[in-house]
Amino acid sequence: MLTYIIRRLIGAIAMLIVISMVTFGIFFVVPQWAGSSPEAMASRYVGRAATPETVHLVAQKLGFYDPVIVQYGRFAKGIVAGAEYDYGAGVEQCPAPCFGYSFISGQPVWPDLLDRMPVTFSLAIGAALLWVLGGVSVGVISALRRGTFFDRLSMGTALAGVSLPIFFTGMLSLVVFSYGLGWTPPGGSWTDFTENPAQWAFNLLLPWITLAFLFAATYARLTRAGMLETMGEDYVRTARAKGLSERDVVVKHGLRAALTPILTLFGIDFGLLIGGAVLTETTYTLPGLGQFAILAIRNQDLPQVMGVVLFAACFVVVASLIVDLLYAWVDPRVRLS
């Protein structure tokens, strides 16, 4: 078990290094292949009005003339150990993890990311709770009542859930519940949890439900398929033969085995979501990481884009690491290999 954990940890770290290389490559190496000169890249840092001499100087300071490997080393070191920027007028400290400074605001990227995180976190955790509980229970009931009206209705709804994009269901929910009925606050409402938990939950209710609907659909279908399979397994028959109550047979024996693929999917979904629920945040104008990413791309704010990409990638890697470890805990057969 310990070697399994260590192997997975090493794998996760290697994955992060590769991701940072690829990200760096996309933003610094590929433009050069495409014919962009170091000066052209440096000009993004100094604004349009700068003279060619200034641009050249900045490009030198930022090390754009150095070999790629040196540039990557500097970039990676900034993230791990922090960096110092020499602007001529004095040295500025950028503490680790340093993703550089925004082109637009001149603020360091990392604190901005941290600011946005609670919004996305709140959105993801609430929605995840809803969709896992909702999706899995609907899936279980559908499997047990296969072919009944409930099964057809829920699977039909699930099909709609997977097919309808969030900007449609999101908009619709806003039009109906916020602007029409006035039950829920309009888009853009955000209260920090520490300020007022009730208001926090109330503001997020609509985004939670909309986002959960999308995911719950997939989970319901997956759970149903898994349950139909496991409930036909020999060990479920054994559980019944022992005299176990039907509820325990379903939950402890059937569902337990059907949960494994759901766990895998959940890890990836949740990791992706933590990195920014772009569509949901945009639809409900929530100031989270997804919205941050969209703004950064629209502004061509390179350090911010890189920051958010790496940040999001980290979550996916960490989430899948956790899933791998949980997997071994859930399925003892995994521990062997």
Partner: protein, 341 residues
């Protein structure tokens, strides 16, 4: 009335293609301390019968009729919850493939403890001790350690022993073993059969062994019931069935049984054809399309379902052929061939 009395049991499954008559009018009885072997090909209704006794078809699509009396309690008409209370406690089952029949995610100990605690209000520690005792009793070395192993960490024979331990956890009075040795190595088979015999003596339970292996029932059973197409075709004392069988199907089974005392070069005598569809059971005697003697019944074989009639030797046979003819066929044609082989 016997300890277990099954009367005219019918288990039918309605499907889109028609009604599958898996068990169609089965009657038998069994006393405590006795062993009944139910023999037949795949699809003859053996397993469905055993699951039916345990009430595992309740709530499903199956249509069940007839009576199952267990120690004075009628189970077919009893509510599902009442039968559930008996399951695992008064009657338990050992399944065919212990790897797929044990939950891969739980330790062997956990599964035995679970079975014990359903019917006994005891603490986990007490149940665990009981599980270790049981594992020791079924011959698992170092039971205190193996109790925390997962099924996939056991060998096939060990798993079947663990499965038996689980079935025995609540001292069941009726034990049903569905092909208990089919998935095992031949050497392990013998050990498991010995174990089951010893345990049965110890617990004085009634044992039903379901198998297609006549060697297994020869070893263990007091009575043998031969099933074909969901019906009993021959039922009697083990010695009678082996030494004086009267149904052509039983002859076929005996002929297709590999034996050590035969010359290895001799061919087995398989029964021609394949088991009948349980939806469109052949009219008349279900076995007649495969029966080499069907022409000796004055045409009744394909029109009339034969009755399960007693012979003077006290066992029951479902065959149209006149008794004298069956006897002479066995004595003059079948037995000599089986013996010379």
């Amino acid at each position: 009335m016997s300890f277990l009395d099954v009367k005219d049991l019918k288990i039918h499954f309605p499907t889109d293609d028609g009604v599958v008559k898996s068990v169609d009018g089965l009657t038998f009885g069994l006393e405590r301390g006795q062993t009944l072997g139910i023999v037949g090909e795949s699809g003859s209704g053996k397993s469905v019968t055993s699951l039916g006794i345990l009430g595992l078809h309740k709530g499903g699509r199956a249509k069940i009729s007839g009576e199952i009396w267990l120690d004075g309690e009628e189970l077919v008409s009893a509510p599902a919850e009442q039968v559930r209370g008996l399951r695992g406690k008064k009657m338990a089952m050992i399944f065919q493939d212990p790897l797929s029949s044990m939950h891969p995610y739980y330790t062997v100990g956990h599964q035995i403890i679970e079975a014990y605690r359903i019917h006994n209000a005891v603490s986990k520690q007490v149940a665990r001790k009981h599980a270790v005792d049981l594992l020791g009793r079924v011959g698992i070395p170092e039971p205190g350690k193996r109790v925390d192993s997962y099924p996939h960490e056991f060998s096939g024979g060990m798993r079947q022993r663990a499965m038996i331990a689980m079935a025995l956890s609540c001292d069941p009075e009726l034990l049903i073993a569905d092909e208990p040795t089919t998935a095992l190595d031949v050497t392990v088979q013998a050990q498991i059969l010995d174990l089951m015999r010893d345990l049965q003596r110890e617990f004085n339970s009634a044992l039903i062994i379901i198998t297609h292996d006549l060697g297994v029932v020869a070893e263990l059973a007091d009575d043998i019931l031969v099933m074909y197409g969901g019906k009993c075709v021959e039922y009697g004392k083990t010695d009678e069935i082996f030494y004086n069988p009267e149904h052509p199907y039983t002859w076929g089974l005996l002929g297709s049984m590999p034996r050590l005392d035969r010359e290895p070069t001799e061919r087995l005598l398989p029964i021609k054809g394949s088991p009948p569809s349980l939806i469109n059971v052949p009219p008349g005697c279900a076995f007649h399309p495969r029966c080499p003697y069907a022409d000796r019944t004055e045409g009744r074989a394909s029109t009339e379902v034969p009755d399960l009639a007693p012979t003077e030797r006290g066992h029951l046979v479902r065959c149209h052929m006149p008794r004298t003819e069956r006897r002479s066929l066995w004595e003059n044609e079948i037995k000599p061939v089986l013996e010379t082989q």
